[in-house]
Amino acid sequence: MTTIRDWQVGQSLPDVTLPPVSRLDLIKYAGASGDYNPIHTIDDEAKKAGLPGIIAHGMWTMGNLAKLFTPYYEEGFVQDYFVRFQSMVFLNDIITLKATVKEKGDKTIRFDVAAVNQHGKEVVKGEAVFALYE
């Protein structure tokens, strides 16, 4: 059983690479989240908005990124989670999710988190604080 407490500053959780972003991924997220902004699902609407094509919901990427911490729910929970949406995610992009320990306290572990595309660009970047139970 892996435990998050043992992670040292500078160490990374195992990266997760997602399958290429598909329209169905975004349709499913629209339905599950209630965010039906058509720039995420309909090509014409994305083009009208001046985009080259549909883009992923920022919250889809942020939601995916948080799952790096799910395996550790018995040890603690995500207390703070912040991201900046730095770049757009397009169809067929291949996104890799990353988290690296930045700081360790008695009750919390602070991580740098990022979602990186196939060109090595950070599309989402931020920080998560994982609070540990006694």
Binding site: S33, G34, G58, G63, Y81, V83, F85
Partner: protein
């Protein structure tokens, strides 16, 4: 243009952390962990029940902030922050409301950008704050001009 909206709030809306909605959401973010949907896993966990993913509050109804007029199109989600006192439990009732926290403008290479900060909060039945989900929305010059017409 939103300075006078700072501090405005919506009335609280009762929301339920619905089992089916949590499962659908976990699937949509590709998180297969059974802690979100399998009752037995939930019962055996330290929580004694299922929990919801940290970005789940996107689905709640936070009510309407009277007088706050947002453009229907052209908004950019710039930043997002979540703060939790504890994870959300499947089946629990939360009382949710939105508040305009801040508005400021900054000159950028794309012209004058407006930054609107909205906090979406969730409280339990006793009024204890359980989570805050804070969004920074960027409004560009073209969108602002279209609105003031």
């Amino acid at each position: 243009m939103y300075q006078h909206d700072i501090g405005k709030r919506s009335a609280k809306v009762k929301n339920v952390v619905e089992r089916g909605a949590v499962k659908k959401f976990a699937e949509a973010i590709g998180d297969p962990n059974p802690i979100y949907w399998d009752e037995e896993t939930g019962e055996r966990s330290r929580y004694g029940r299922n929990i919801a993913p940290p970005t789940f509050p996107r689905v709640f109804d936070y009510g309407v902030i009277e007088g706050l007029k947002l453009p229907a199109k052209g908004l950019i989600h710039g930043e997002q922050r979540f703060h939790y006192e504890r994870p959300l439990f499947v089946g629990e009732e939360l009382y949710c409301y939105a508040e305009v926290k801040d508005y400021y403008e900054k000159q950028s290479s794309m012209g004058l950008l407006g930054f609107l900060v909205i906090a979406n909060n969730g409280e339990d039945a006793d009024g204890n704050l359980i989570f805050t989900s804070t969004s920074t929305i960027i409004i560009n010059e073209a969108v602002r001009k279209a609105m003031s017409v």
